[in-house]
Amino acid sequence: MRAILVRRMMTALPTMAAVILLSFLLMRVAPGGPFDAERPLDPATRAALAHAYGLDRPLIEQLGRYLLGLAQGDFGPSLVYRDFSVGDLVRQGLPVSLTLGGLALAVALPLGIAAGALAAMRPGGWVDRVLMLAATIATLLPSFVTGPLLVLVFALLLGWLPVSGWGGGDPRHLLLPVIALALPTAGAIARLARAGLATTLAQDHVRTARARGLSEGRILLRHALRPALVPVASYVGPAAAGLLTGAVVVETVFALPGLGRYFVQGALNRDYPLVLAVVILYAGLILLFNLIADLLYGWLDPRAAG
């Protein structure tokens, strides 16, 4: 187990370093600047602004300052949200995005595993086929289509739920965004769980359990589910990436004050520090989730831990 973790860290840490370095360099060689406006600034003002933000220093010094700040949790000033530092925006937005992603995962996991188990009970039967088609469609439903559709039906036509906004974290405001975000992940998990279970249910120890007269439900829960969840565990990393990416759209559609929405605004307005911070932060989060996936993997299948 420890050997796997060490080996993973050996890839994860250089990856992280490369991400930071490359995105920093990319941002600095970019044509066009954050102070480009419809009316050009006069050179003196431009120089003063560049000086105030340290953009007139040598590149290596800028990188050094950035890394030093990063180590202290300081991502620099936001160039678009002038009154905020990027750190402020992250502190405001990240909890919203993580709540959204966490809730979506909490919905998607049981839903996907249940659907996958139901489908795997009778491979090839009509339940299996209907569920797997539904899972394929769910996996491919872009949240920017489901989001507006859910709003159209449940908010505008039926009037049951609010159209958008955070509402201070009120569950009624969260329901539709979480569903829109959870559906693709639930579909992918259902497909993986079904594949894992179909293989496991065909194995000898399950046949033995059946021969001993155990009920199907007991076999599923006690003997088959744990090894069958190995593919699901290895999906935790990509799922986290998918949820963070999906959150960008969902936050935009539902006007939620999450980090993803700031990221889009930053990207549209060339707010380098903001975009850079989100890319680095999310790369770190996804590497972290890949590590968690490895731990889960070893716990579910002790043979892999060697």
């Binding site: 890839t11 970019a30 159209l152 505008l156 990436a241 960008v248 759209v249 990221f263």
Partner: protein, 263 residues
């Protein structure tokens, strides 16, 4: 009917409509009909109605589908080229080169690639060429893994050994013997890459970071439709339905072909 035929027919139908349709319609995708703003579906002259500024929804959907498919095809082609080359070199050379090359693939897999594409957009400006080059450059990873696996499997087969014994050079073996045997699997994964790319393109366009007005794409149409859905639901439903149908049909076709080749 064999699995995969129906989805493939649906894809072909949508592609054909997107290519030929605009030639048959009286309205161009950016022509404004001031006499019919937000016309409902089945209005005279506008089969699916019009959008908020009176542009024909059917013409716009067809034009948007065409752009989306063109971007997706080009990007998937880039992914196919990079992935096949990378996988072939890694699989053929083996040893340390293979190890290093696949480590790079693993490392890239762990990246939040949508954010990397957006980063590229921000840096190099929003051009359509960059949209598909950027997407293609991140979508080749799966292709590289699959091709490498196939090459490892093929390289010790007798016909390859025979070619080597007969003195064929590496490049000749790769182009004459390996590539033709890789083609089937590569095409199956190409079919599976296209919907991924369609998704990325619509995602970016929806956020305003991909294809730019006055050009249109399914992502832009869904975005515009979502803005206007309370008064003209069709502007959201039509492009949304086309997008989802296209994604599902492409994926089903790709999966059917993949399962047939590698059961």
């Amino acid at each position: 009917m064999r699995p995969g035929v129906l989805p493939l027919a649906i894809v072909a139908g949508i592609a054909l409509a997107a290519i030929l349709g605009p030639l048959l319609l009286p309205w161009s995708y950016d022509a404004i009909d001031w006499s019919a703003v937000r016309a409902p579906p089945l209005s005279p002259g506008h089969l699916l109605g019009t959008d908020a500024v009176g542009r024909d929804l059917l013409a716009r959907t067809l034009a948007g589908t065409r752009v989306t498919l063109a971007v997706a095809g080009a990007a998937a082609g880039v992914a196919l080229a990079i992935g096949t080359l990378w996988g072939m070199i890694a699989g053929w050379c083996g040893g340390r080169i293979d190890e290093a090359m696949m480590r790079i693939v693993d490392a890239l897999y762990a990246l939040p690639f949508m954010f990397v594409v957006i980063l590229l957009m921000v840096v190099f400006g929003r051009s359509i060429v960059l949209v598909f080059a950027g997407i293609g450059a991140v979508e080749w990873l799966t292709m590289a893994r699959v091709v490498r696996g196939e090459v490892l499997h093929l390289r010790h087969r007798p016909f390859i050994l025979a070619a080597e014994a007969a003195g064929a050079g590496t490049s000749a073996i790769m182009t004459r013997h390996l590539l033709p045997n890789l083609a089937g699997v590569a095409i199956a994964y190409l079919l599976l890459t296209v919907p991924q790319v369609v998704m990325v393109e619509s995602f970016l366009s929806f956020l305003g970071l991909g294809v730019q007005e006055p050009m249109t794409s399914l992502g832009i149409l869904v975005h515009d439709g979502a803005e206007d859905m309370d008064v003209a639901a069709a502007t959201l439903l039509v492009p949304g339905a086309v997008l989802v149908t296209l994604l599902v049909a492409l994926t089903r076709a790709g999966e059917a072909l993949r399962d047939r080749l590698a059961p």
